[in-house]
């Protein structure tokens, strides 16, 4: 149905992957798959590597690269993983425009979502921003404050070319906050 991540296409325009220093990539199946409520919705296919930003971690800046990303912490800035999947977990709080191959939102996102292939708004997902994608799945209970635009691959490519998510990338800054602090 959709491409596996086993052969990530080269993306010369993308900067080198940014690996948050505090969170090394882990090899694991997509953890959100097990927690997905019915009705069954296909989770993005995890590539061989998933970078996890765990609860209690806060990152400010631009995230880009080729591995899948699971956010259960806090991210402010821009997430640009055009060839990969981004999942915002139930505890994730993202204030950023997000561009990815597939985007699953089960937490909160304040920013525009550009899913090249698919966007899934989970039942606990809360998005304040516009959604542009080819396929959109909305679970009951999801919240969206913004516009939905379904884009063909051609249109989607044009959007990517003409609307840079972040003109001036800022340096990645990882800030560890106490793990017991609850991010609400």
């Amino acid at each position: 149905m959709w491409r596996k991540q086993s052969e990530p296409a080269a993306s010369p325009s993308l900067p080198e992957p940014v690996s948050p220093p505090v969170v090394p990539p882990v090899r694991s199946p997509a953890p959100e798959r097990a927690a997905m409520p019915s009705p069954p919705v296909a989770a993005p296919v995890a590539g061989p590597e998933v970078t996890r930003i765990a609860q209690g971690i806060q990152i400010k800046g631009e995230l880009s690269g080729r591995t899948d990303l699971y956010v259960d912490g806090r991210v402010e800035g821009t997430i640009r993983l055009s060839q990969s999947n981004v999942t915002v977990g139930p505890n994730g709080r993202v204030s950023a425009d997000v561009e990815a191959r597939e985007i699953v939102v089960r937490g909160t996102v304040k920013g525009n979502l550009l899913g090249r292939e698919r966007v899934v708004l989970g039942s606990t997902g809360d998005v304040h921003g516009n959604v542009t994608t080819q396929r959109l799945t909305i679970e009951e209970g999801a919240r969206l404050q913004g516009r939905v635009e379904m884009a063909t691959p051609k249109q989607e490519a044009a959007i990517v070319r003409t609307t840079p998510l972040h003109a001036d990338p800022v340096a990645v800054q990882a800030v560890a906050i106490p793990a017991k602090e609850s991010i609400q």
Binding site: L136, I138, E139, A142, R143, L144, G146, R147, V148, E149
Partner: protein, 233 residues
Amino acid sequence: MNWGGKTRESVVASAAASPRAVATVAAPAASERNVRQSHGMKDFLWLISDAQHGRILDLGPVWQSTVNFFIERGFRVSTEDVLRSWKEFLGEEEQRLRSAPVGSEAAPLSPDVLAEKFLETALQYSPENFHGVLAWDLCDYFDKALMTRIVSRLYDLLRPGGAVLALFHSRHPERFHPYRIMDRDSVELIAAPPPTPHERIFQNREILNLFGQFRSSKTFVGRDQIREGLFLK
């Protein structure tokens, strides 16, 4: 009445007085779905059908079926769950008052000020951006100060010829129901906890006054005591 130059007899006629104006509640489907036939929806769709790449604003919760329905027909859909936002806004205001130091000048805001403050962040779109607005039965749940401002804001957001579909209960509903579109003339009522209490029962005259800015209006009365109103800018 002038429905944007449209000449369909059923629209020009006084719908409330005609037999076809009666919206009926469909027999329960094989499942436990609460599906409601909606003549208002049917005419709403007809009124906006001329728009090329039309824009729809849905003021209820986002539903897959509703988004699909409009996307498949070439529309762009914006959603804003205004009632939920209002509830959260009121909660934040309450929290602000609770956390205010004793002796401070923090005082409850008047309904008018609350409404103005809420609309500083809600329903922020370009003027004349939408061809149609689905207001569902939200007017029943807002207080008067906010409701009049929201209707005025919707008027500004609509393009000339654009339409608002609103529902009004004729008696206090037993349950709160968000709506989602099933097909072009039926909507499904989804049982849900009410975000805010049901505020009022509108009389016909009150409805007409509330939407007084609009060029014309049309109402359908259903057997389930829900009135559907179509208001044309």
